[in-house]
């Protein structure tokens, strides 16, 4: 081959490679900018939605304590309250997922007392458990367990709440929800066992995928987008934690959350 042609070809190839690299860098920067502006927009929309939802929640909480309400009126107020809480939770889950790559479970600065945070979760679900005549039992196998790693309190609470919420939602009436807190090697282990509908074997590999709901869950409980377990798994995996489960259809499930102690 003509040496001049060879050099020209090499220069052209070099220029093509440089152009391709520059193009890729531009695309990467643009997608990052787009992701950032989408995340900012999602946060502003969420704020606009959450303010009226907070007004509805708190108004219902004040209203239900008024005197002379009939049981039927109280029931309506409870319906407003519960559905409002459902919407607040869905917005929280969608926001977390929309922004999951920028979120971290380990952005807190306070060390968390596990017993305290679980007691708060139990208290939050007291009303929902009573409605289904469920008994929540907290079996604490640790004593004053304070996690040394600095987790974000709200996000950790959202993870624990998500697992307990599923155990209540998909449990049979008069069933049990057993929460167990233990520590093993470098992990804090929080497990939630229920006596509910369980997960069919064919659905088990997909259960923590985005928007997936088990075939028996859809008919049992209409609400739900299939985001909670996905969100929990994503948050845990980013900080060395793990979500696992054991389940048998019609025979309940046990979900286990593992997080690093330090």
């Amino acid at each position: 081959m003509n040496p001049g042609l060879e050099i020209s070809l090499l220069i052209i190839i070099f220029l093509l490679v440089v152009s391709l690299v520059v193009l890729l860098l531009i695309i990467r920067k643009k997608s990052k900018e787009l992701a950032e502006s989408t995340s900012k927009y999602a946060h502003m929309v969420a704020h606009q939605l959450l303010t009226p939802l907070s007004v509805i929640r708190w108004s219902a909480e004040l209203l239900v304590k008024k005197e002379n309400l009939t049981p039927e009126e109280k029931e309506f107020i409870h319906n407003i309250h519960d559905n409002d809480l459902g919407m607040i939770k869905t917005i929280g889950d969608v926001l977390t997922i929309a922004d999951v790559k920028n979120q971290s479970l380990t952005t807190g600065t306070t060390q968390i007392n596990m017993e305290e945070i679980i007691n708060k979760v139990v208290k939050d679900f007291d009303e929902a458990a009573k409605k289904k005549n469920l008994q929540i039992v907290f079996n604490n196998q640790t004593k004053d367990l304070v996690v040394k790693k600095e987790y974000n309190r709200e996000k950790l609470q959202r993870i624990l709440s998500g697992v307990v919420e599923n155990a209540i939602a998909y449990n049979d009436k008069k069933g049990d929800v057993v929460l167990t807190l233990s520590a093993e090697n470098q992990y804090v282990i929080f497990s939630v066992q229920d006596t509910g509908i369980g997960i069919p074997e064919k659905d088990q590999t997909n259960i923590a995928k985005r928007f997936f709901r088990a075939s028996n869950a859809v008919g049992y409980q209409q609400h739900g987008l299939g985001l909670t377990l996905f969100m929990i798994q994503e948050l845990l995996e980013m900080c060395g934690g793990k979500l696992s489960f054991e389940s048998k259809e019609h025979d309940g499930s046990t979900f286990t959350v593992k997080i690093l102690q330090q």
Binding site: H43, A46, H47, L50, T51, P52, L53, S54, V55, R57, W58, S59, E61, L62, I88, I91, G92, L95, T109, E154, K155
Partner: protein, 124 residues
């Protein structure tokens, strides 16, 4: 003795929320005053000298950060406890560094839980 009542200033652009706060904190025996934006809030903080300020994180005109900074720089208002109430789960550390005593996410708490926090900061 009525002068001894704790006074709470609520700076929030949602009139509905302010009404709910007023009803709840009225039950605690507090005087409640409200402001719809940051400028009005700063003025009322100087004039009324409340015991506690509840500040919305997202406000029209002046941002919540600017309002908190102004309150914490002014010798007339710098010792007033400010609790930030927001719906965005972000920048908690920045709020605390600027001098807020607490940062609460509205939608995650019941009105009784908010009230318990307020009682704590009022030492009731």
């Amino acid at each position: 003795m009525t002068d001894q009542k704790p006074k709470i200033l609520i700076i929030d652009d949602s009139k509905f929320l302010s009404t709910v706060y007023a009803e709840k904190f009225g039950e605690l025996g507090c005087d409640v005053i409200t402001a719809d934006d940051g400028e009005e809030g700063i003025q009322k903080a100087k004039n009324e000298k409340p015991t506690l300020i509840l500040l919305d994180g997202v406000l029209p005109k002046m941002s919540g950060f600017e309002v908190l900074e102004t309150i914490k720089k002014d010798p007339d208002t710098m010792n007033i406890s400010v609790v930030v109430l927001s719906n965005l789960d972000s920048e908690k550390e920045k709020w605390l560094q600027l001098g807020a005593v607490d940062y609460l996410i509205k939608a995650e708490l019941s009105i009784d839980e908010i009230s318990d926090k307020v009682k704590k900061y009022l030492s009731l």
